[in-house]
Amino acid sequence: MTTLNHSDSAHGDHRLFGLATFLVADGMTFAGFFAAYLTFRAVNPLPDGHNYELELLLPTINTLLLLISSFTFHRAGAALRRGNHPLCQRWLLLTALLGFSFLAGQMKEYFALPFGLRDNLFASTFYAITGFHGLHVTLGGLMILIVWWQSRTGGRISANNPFPLEAAELYWHFVDGIWVILYGLLYLL
């Protein structure tokens, strides 16, 4: 990009700070959804025969997958900082694998559920929130694949330029954290 007029090097790199601010905003979208879900639950009782016990096993496994993936991403970052590109790539691939396994699990759950998008208020809210989160996981998974490609030895990402990896990592931790809240509110509560 040579279209820049201004010397970005004149000040420090604030891109992670900017991303964190964006994630606060993104988190507020989820907060709005959660608030709507809790209010619906409190004041709009479902019609008879529309109350389900959600299956807990698969979502719990999914929660564990995401938590482990946060850890593996962290390991990838640590490997990069030591300059070990092959190890970093291996951890990243494992992270992506865990992320896509989560999505597969989510799909399996969707197809097994006894309700559809329009069945009742709970069903609609359930699909809207988990779907919005699934969209985040999908984007995150693609990001990890891009970062994986770029962190090969001699690639764009290195110990000197770790920003894309750090950004993807911050985003991924955020998505995982949101899932933990989602799991607590939609499945456990």
Partner: protein, 558 residues
Amino acid sequence: MTISLTPEQNSGSLQPQGWLRYLSFSTDHKVIGLQYLVCGFLFYLIGGALAGAIRTELITPISDFLPRETYNEVLTLHGTVMIFLWIVPVVNGAFGNYLVPFYVGARDMAFPRLNAVAFWLIPPAGLLLIASYFFAGASQSGWTAYPPLSITTPATGQIIWILSVLLLGGSSIFGGINFIATILKLRRPGLKLMQLPMYCWAMLGTSILVVLSTPVLAGTLVLLSFDIIAHTGFFNPALGGNAVVYQHLFWFYSHPAVYIMVLPAFGLVSEILPVHARKPLFGYTTMVYSIMAIVFLGLIVWAHHMFTSGTPPWMRLFFTIATAFIAVPTGIKFFNWLATLWGGKISLNTAMLFCCGFIVNFVFGGITGVALAQVPFDIHVHDTYFVVGHFHYIVYGGTVFVIFASIYHWYPKVTGRLLNEPLGQLHFWLTFVGFNLCFAPQHWLGLNGMPRRVAEYDPQFTLINQLSSAGALLMAISTLPFLINVVMSAFNGTPAGDNPWNALTPEWLTSSPPPVENWKGEPPLVHEPYGYGHQPGELSLEATSGRELWTLGQTEQR
């Protein structure tokens, strides 16, 4: 991927350098600021024409000028255009982008390309919205888009409206992130937070509100679009949904949106008053705390828009009290401005007149606001013209007056030429008289029960409505001297020099118009942006340019 260019290489940059740069994907914060301003003003003219259509329809009690559906479309477009395409982008994006980098001593915003993206989301969103009127029929459910109305009115226009507002919300969030990063992270070394000009604090507070509340509206509108397209029942009582939840989520954004529109105006007034009254801004610290208090309280008062929506008593009590509390920091700011004026060497130029007009209008709008926060009164006037009058006193009498004041104040900085004073005074008086004639009678209409958003009304209200429409005509006419002034002065205006107001804030300590990276040398370190009335030499200004002005004892020469 960023490449840093030294100033010499800039001339060879791929960015257009002439007037064409205003139509380009420029990353220069000053270019982007002007793009916001001009684009916003064009939408203001469109929104004004729509307001003209509304006031023309309301000259007579029957629906004769516009069919009822068209009237609904026009009032929806008027509200949406004025809020999302004129006031929010201009008072934040335009002045924020132009001034904040100067004020923090930076050469640009923290994320210049994100900044350009944020601006370039606006024209397509605006054109989409306007085009929906011609090709599909615009949304008819008002700028609030309350369900079930928004679910039952024609779907195409409503979906386009949602899409457009989502784009504008994205633009707003990107802008907010940029302002927060710029103000917190890009300050020149040695410049402390509590030495920043007040507009920075206002923009910081506003951006916090933008980042916290806009995403909630975005999520809500996505759910609303599901209700319209996929026939889910989130907000549709007929399908077991809850329309009041939409109202809560909508106002969680849209009440802070009032502060998103008005806090930057507070900041701009705090910049303009000290310069033209030649006095330091009174009570700097209390101003800062007041802004932050308004930010906090602004997030917890939203349900005062919903007293007729079956809100439980505890909720009414809480939101009434929280709303009344906002009057305290706002009142502090007003007394501070009055104290700034008190005993000052006031030059009553157009910028100052518009600021004084702002103070008068906003105090009135603020008082009716506190009245509206009281449940019994609110239930009486809810959804009447009283609310319309109150709202326009805040956003037009408040913010738009400040936008005009700011244009008169900073035009010499942007163009190097002064605006014509007599034309400016004519503009002010036409606007001030027209505005008050248009909106003051609407309070009376509301108190007597005329509902808003209806094309027809009881014939007993005819005379007052005609008065109001006459005021609207004056406001429309007032745009003419302004337009003539802005265009003519760009070519024939009196050359202003670098600092025609002898101001101390950093944007004046460079040439007019400023060079691409704001200062030829190092950015000046301004510890006392409001150090007016000091003895020359007493100031601890270490500006590298413009310093001579203050040490040569010319500070008070007017």
